[in-house]
């Protein structure tokens, strides 16, 4: 009974997804691809056309590595692998054979060139300035996960980019499957949250670290990708920023948290930089916030990546449901 329900749900989601996909203005690119057998993908730097699906891809930002892994493709080279392993925690394993091409901000051009890639994927806010250098090595596509336009749906941007990347490595079907799984996960998580009997569904989602001055707490805004995910499972992000936040979060110190003390406090903090256990432990303001006093703190772990792709989204959902239910 349960199984059939699941597959029914799956089918329904699938249908929704198909409709969703075809209405998203990718038609043009897709048509072209079919007509000439070339593959064209669209980034913020325009259309990039490849003669055949890319086999050797170098990714300069974690999200896009994750997108590749989600559809079962290992990149040939990637930036900042060590840090990626600290921050990103997804089901798909990054192969040990993937070459490290240096930092995300200043990737090692020689190392990239030595891999002789078919395609390089970068991100706007880091690599716009070096497109010319990258294009000397291989066709380069740049995506922008933080558009200046306030009305852009960042979640949709993530899905669109994911599909584009899947297309260029010829894994469209796998991508559909991944997204279908994800949508199913949303439903599951929503049900779990509904049944958990939480005192409130209001939440704030935060990421904390020791900043240039003191403990800094990023509070995610409703336009951030992570927040859109929260809304999808029936949680209610109550942080409304005063101004448009390009990167989807406002930076606060402990004082700024007071106005959210009645919500549930979802947080991410790295173990070695745990400001809650170190700097804030004996702080009266922190100790007397309602969510601390009433123990509505939910630790999502340091390696829940809020800026990732579909697999990071799944990790986030799993963490939220498991911590919120277990309490």
């Amino acid at each position: 009974m349960k199984k059939s329900l699941k597959s029914l749900l799956f089918l329904a989601l699938f249908a929704v997804l198909l409709v969703g996909c075809s209405s998203k203005g990718e038609d043009k690119a897709e048509d072209k691809g079919k007509a000439e057998e070339n593959i064209t993908i669209t980034g913020v730097n325009g259309e990039v056309t490849l003669k055949e699906p890319a086999k050797k891809v170098v990714v300069l930002e974690w999200t896009y590595a994750e997108d590749l892994l989600a559809v079962g493709v290992q990149p040939i080279g990637m930036a900042d692998i060590e840090e990626y392993n600290n921050w990103v925690n997804i089901d798909a394993e990054l192969s040990k054979d993937v070459a490290d091409v240096g930092g995300r901000q200043e990737p090692n051009l020689e190392a990239i060139a030595a891999l002789e890639p078919d395609l390089i994927i970068g991100t706007s806010f880091r690599h716009d300035g070096m497109i010319a250098d990258l294009e000397k090595i291989a066709p380069t596509v740049i995506f922008n996960p933080y558009p200046e336009d306030e009305k852009m749906d960042l979640y949709q941007e993530m899905i669109t980019t994911f599909n584009e990347i899947a297309k260029v490595v010829d894994k469209k079907d796998e991508a559909k499957q991944v997204l279908a799984d994800l949508d199913e996960k949303y439903e599951e998580a929503k049900t779990t949250i509904d049944n958990a009997g939480l005192k409130t569904k209001d939440v704030v989602l935060t990421l904390a670290y020791t900043g240039p001055q003191a403990p800094e707490i990023r509070v995610f805004t409703p336009n951030s990708m992570a927040s859109i995910m929260l809304e999808k499972i029936g949680l209610n992000n109550i942080h409304i920023p005063d101004q448009f936040e390009l990167y989807g979060s406002s930076t606060y110190n402990v004082e700024g948290l007071a106005k959210y003390e009645d919500a549930n406090y979802l947080y991410i903090v790295q173990d070695e930089d745990n400001i809650y256990e170190k700097q804030l432990k004996d702080n009266a303001v922190w100790k007397n916030l309602n969510f601390v006093k009433e123990d509505r703190l939910y630790d999502l772990g340091g390696d829940t990546w809020l800026y990732g792709g579909p697999l990071s989204a799944e990790t986030l959902l799993n963490k939220i449901t498991s911590t919120m239910v277990s309490k």
Binding site: G103, E110, T210, P212, A214, P215, V254, Q279
Partner: protein
Amino acid sequence: MVLLSFVHLTQGQADYTVTQLVKEVWTEGRVQDIVLSLRLPRLIIGILAGGALAVAGAVLQTLTNNPLASASTLGINAGAYFFVVVSMIFFPSLLGNFPFIVALVGAVLSSVLVVMLAGKQMEPVRVALTGMIISLLFASMTGSLQLLFENQTNGLFLWGSGTLVQLNWDGVSFAGPVIIVFFILALVLAKPLDTLSLGEDIASSLGQNVRFVKLLAWAVAIVLAAATVSVVGPIGFIGLMAPHIVRMLGVRGHLNILLQSFLWGSVMLIGADVLGRLIQPGQEVPVGAMTALIGGPWLLYLAWKTAKTHSRGDRQMGGTLKPVKLSVVIAIVVALLLVIISLALSFNGTAWTTEWLKPVVWNFRVPRVLTAFIVGVMLAIAGVLLQGVLRNPLADASILGVTSMGGAGAMMLLVLFPAIPVNYMPLGAVVGAAIALGIILGTSWKNNFQPMLVALMGIAISAFGSAATQVLVVKAKLAVAAALVWLSGSTYAKGWEDVQLAVLLFALFIGPAIYLTRSLDTLTFGDDVAAGLGLSVKSTRVWALIVGVAISTAAVSIVGTIGFVGLVAPHIARRLVGFRHLPLIVVSGLLGGLLLVTADFVGRILIAPKDIPSGLIVALIGTPYLLYLLRKMK
């Protein structure tokens, strides 16, 4: 003071109206928590630290009979901070227990260093310059350590540029007693200090134990400075400004001066903090940057006044009198260059190759190495010109404030037009550098470009520029990642276009530079002799300044702010070939190229495939040499 404190308390991220604050602070609850555990400690530490720095400054100014003395200009703050960083990395448990002791050791060491290097007469400008160099040394060593030990020093950014943020009363309860005790001690010393300021001879003839009083006064000043550094980090300019304001108000007698300095110091630090939070509500602007922003122009004014009243302090440029034969030097340096260049071209950090024409190497490595070389040459030549014209062996573009204003200009561009590509940042840098040069020309014109005055102006502008950069970085937030790399100076990803640009700029400026060498040679005999020989001293100075600044700005526009090359290369050259400028330009140019190619190479391979900015490597190579040099220059 009361008013400012009140405003200070009302600032914070939690929005409470003033009436709410006043009413609810007396009852238990949220408001009381916030006020008592966050805002009040911040206020109190601000009052204590500001006061302590001001008193330390007042005492130091009397001791050295030097209006430019303070804990920051004497390098005491930077030294203390460096020691805190070192112990954080290598002896973490020690710091946990005795941050104050560590800071104190650093403070003592750097003040001893400055006094040793500046000489007994404590000639104001010389002291200020030496202190500046010591600060520069410690700051760059601190920066390097922070980059190399990123994980261990994470929490240290708390202190980096000075912050009043407090999460509990620990800081106050630690620093409070120390500061109060030593403040009282300072007040006890007020009488002897009065006597001392009449002159040492008079003081001792009045039966005072001068040495004892002096030693004690130094101790008081150093302890006060160290205590503040260990709690709120290095904060500059308060110690300089506050005592001056007090003296300007006509306060006489050390008892009054010290008391009022304390008050003014507190007011200024709290005021800076208030201002910082007004500029960027809800975000922390380092209060140290704010004080520098306010203090920079003040120092400019002060420097201008001091230089007018004090004797001109020309320094010997050094340089060997028995030059090694030029052909020999050049042959050796060129040989070294060839070796390092072929190394740099052949090794990428993991694998060797001699196929330099292979596309990978030809497109990425060759232009990068060439750019590094040309820029190194340019920086060194600019250094020769600037040192020559200011007759100051410690001059270079970064000390003149040109570099830091260039950085500030570039950041300004980024903040005003966020959409502008990083490639256009040099445009802002040119504007910033031009402003710096304009100020120097404008203020020094009347004084006939008295070398020391120009250098002092440079220090003030430089402090202002880097403070402005810091504030702008906070203002621009995350979008500055690329800008920060540029600011720290990088030969990363230089292509053939950059080589072309560098060659073009080099060709443009080398002619004027060589033309100027003869006039500069004449200048080394002193202004009067030079004028007697028919040289227009003023116009030579103006042109050499303009050309020197133009060359270094050109270099900055290519690779960002790389310091030290222009400082160190001319020195080495002078020790090899003497003080004549033409050979000097040739040799130091080659040495500069050698230095930057080496730095680029080391930065590329050390943590390959990642990159260390070459600006940092240069600082790491340059600082020990500079330290050695300072010792020699006694």
